[in-house]
């Protein structure tokens, strides 16, 4: 059976330190103002604030990036086939053919796609390539998003965000029932975001309360 790469994020272990977001930004050389991976606060109105009334306060985090859907709306709507899904489940963008129509940004139910609104010259701080040298700089006027670190996965490595300080992130083959990710999903009640939409994401979350 073909591989289907997937990720498991344990919300009980996530402490909202934003390390994965920052590692992703550096590894993939994301210009000023663009983030492929974000850690949202499920709590109060601001980052790192709880909700509820003292002493009954609650706060948890939701790390979110491309969900690498089995049936991705972004690929369906892309008029020129620049957004595509690989055999192994990775949803990617061809930055050489993307026309920059932003239909995929409108269509993504998870809001994880960002756009190169400004020319790189203004945006590139620092103005030299950081992170993995294999990751190409994206041209002005195209969409971009998490690639599951395709440059690392193709070398047999794990995505750069996986070494999480509180060990909340796992990566592996969802089609292999004995893989760490498959077992975690089965044993700890892994769920997908907005599963009712039928997009069937390859990113699973383990509930914060269990």
């Amino acid at each position: 059976m073909a591989k289907r790469y997937g990720m498991v994020i344990d919300l009980k272990r996530c402490v909202g330190c934003q390390t994965c977001a920052l590692v992703c930004k550096l590894e993939n050389h994301q210009p000023l103002g663009l983030w492929w991976n974000r850690v949202l606060t499920i709590g109060g109105p601001e980052i790192d604030t709880p909700f509820g009334t003292y002493p009954d306060l609650q706060m948890s985090f939701l790390p979110i990036a491309c969900q690498h859907c089995e049936d991705p709306p972004c690929v369906e709507v892309c008029p020129v086939g620049a957004a595509y899904k690989r055999e192994d489940g990775l949803v990617l963008i061809n930055w050489e053919t993307c026309i920059g129509c932003r239909y995929c940004i409108v269509a993504c139910p998870y809001g994880v796609r960002v756009y190169n609104w400004r020319s790189t010259k203004e945006q590139e701080i620092p103005d030299f390539q950081v992170g993995a040298p294999e990751v190409p700089a994206r041209p002005l006027g195209v969409g971009e998003k998490c690639t599951f670190c395709v440059h690392r996965v193709d070398k047999g490595l794990q995505p750069a965000c996986i070494p999480c300080p509180s060990r909340a992130r796992f990566f592996g083959d969802l089609n292999d029932p004995n893989s760490e990710v498959s077992k975690l999903i089965k044993e700890k009640g892994g769920y997908q975001l907005k599963s009712e939409l039928g997009t069937n994401p390859s990113v699973f979350y383990l509930p914060a309360k269990r």
Binding site: W35, I47, L62, G100, R102, V106, Y115, S119, G141, V142
Partner: protein
């Protein structure tokens, strides 16, 4: 056998063309800035990535399709009611839809790659079908227009007759048959085109993305009706302008029929809006209150007041309905009404991110990054100038069309 003359002649015409060219030049400059610096010069963000350009694209496609449907349907059925304005409606429809495609180019981050629409089209994407309908519509409508004008062009010895100068009875009959067939095809494709925005939302509703749009059951009739409304309104406006500045005169009973038709369409539009509001109220209060009270609700309310209620009052009374200036004003207001209703629909579609917890979505405002959990969009000066330039280009095309095309029928059929 003369082309329409534009009165009062030369001086005002050249002033008009000079103004249009100046606006187009300004737009060319603004578009150059946008192409070099990126779409960051617009008011668009990652939360609300579609704005004025996409709005004009949908609006002009609807308006062009609507304008042609009105008279081409009667042509195809062999009815004479709007025979005298069929050529005007073809020219207006073709120019409007062509301008719509220019707006798409203006909206693309990499316009030079638009060729990929043809190199590697994704047939699943509704945007590809928009393009196909658009091209098909332009081909059919140009053919329809050519066959209905060819004989007059041939008599004028215009090169636009493409060398087919036969004006025998047999050739005229063939022209009539061809133009009726093409009129029928244009109506079908025009209806699909006028509905393109709801087509887009159907595609998205498969995944219930764009929840605010896909929950709107009456979106398709709303788009079709608003397309017809804007189509009739723009025809009335063009007819009023032509009768003021050229010797193309349209019979007053034709104009009054159009004005009545506009009034009926405005009422139907309102009826669908009310019905939809009732359904939304029944199905989900949240969405209802977003539409009725949200940040873009004032656009909808002003559209209903100024763009529907006022023109309706103006068109309802026979005395005001027969006044050229009143009808022209009512047409402008109805056009604005349709524009604003569609605008509020478009903006509400992306107002709230699907997953809106803090920090939110990076909206990339330079110099500092701002995160947002709710969208906001105001067109920038650059967007307004580029849009004005594309519209001015359309006005220029229409001006030339009046000069070189026999918009006035030389022979009654």
């Amino acid at each position: 056998m003369k082309a329409a003359t534009i009165r009062p002649d030369s001086k005002n015409l050249y002033a008009w063309i000079a103004v249009l060219v100046a606006i187009i030049a300004g737009a060319a400059y603004a578009w150059t800035v946008q192409t070099i610096e990126g779409l960051g010069v617009t008011g668009l963000t990652n939360v609300m990535p579609w704005g004025l350009y996409v709005q004009f694209f949908g609006f002009l496609l609807g308006m062009g399709g609507g304008a042609i449907i009105v008279s081409a349907a009667m042509d195809a059925a062999g009815m004479q009611t709007f025979k005298s304005i069929s050529r005007i409606s073809i020219v207006v429809g073709v120019v409007a839809v062509a301008l719509g495609s220019v707006f798409i180019l203006g909206d693309l981050g990499r316009p030079e790659r638009a060729i990929y629409f043809f190199i590697s089209p994704n047939w699943e994407s509704s945007m590809v079908w928009d393009m196909i309908f658009m091209i098909l519509f332009l081909v059919l409508a140009v053919g329809y227009g050519w066959f209905s004008m060819r004989a007059d062009l041939a008599r004028k010895r215009s090169p636009l007759a493409l060398g087919v100068n036969d004006v025998s009875e047999k050739a005229l009959r063939r022209d009539r048959t061809m133009s009726r067939i093409l009129a029928g095809g244009t109506v079908v494709v025009g209806a699909l085109l006028a509905n393109q925005a709801s087509l887009t939302s159907w595609t998205l509703s498969e995944h219930e993305v764009l929840e605010t749009l896909s929950m709107r059951l009456l979106l398709a009739p709303l788009f079709l009706l608003s397309a017809l409304t804007s189509g009739v309104a723009v025809l009335l406006l063009v007819v009023a302008i032509l009768s003021r500045f050229t010797d193309i005169k349209i019979a007053s009973n034709t104009r009054e029929s159009l004005a009545k038709m506009l009034a009926v369409l405005v009422v139907l539009n309102l009826a669908v809006l009310v019905a939809e509001a009732a359904i939304l109220d029944f199905r989900g209060r949240v969405l209802f209150s977003v539409i009725m009270e949200g940040p873009y609700a004032p656009i909808l309310w002003s559209a209903i007041a100024i763009g529907a209620a006022v023109p309706l009052a103006m068109l309802a009374y026979p005395r005001t309905r027969r006044l050229g200036s009143t009808v022209a004003l009512a047409s402008v207001l109805s056009l604005a009404g349709v524009f604003l209703i569609r605008y509020s629909l478009l903006l509400q579609g992306t107002l709230y991110p699907h997953i809106a917890y803090p920090l939110g979505i990076p909206i990339q405002a330079i110099p500092q990054t701002v995160w947002s959990t709710v969208g906001s969009y105001t067109p920038t000066f650059i967007e307004v100038i580029v849009s004005a330039g594309i519209l001015a280009f359309g006005a220029l095309l229409l001006t030339f069309a009046v000069k070189i095309l026999p918009l006035k029928r030389e022979r009654s059929a």
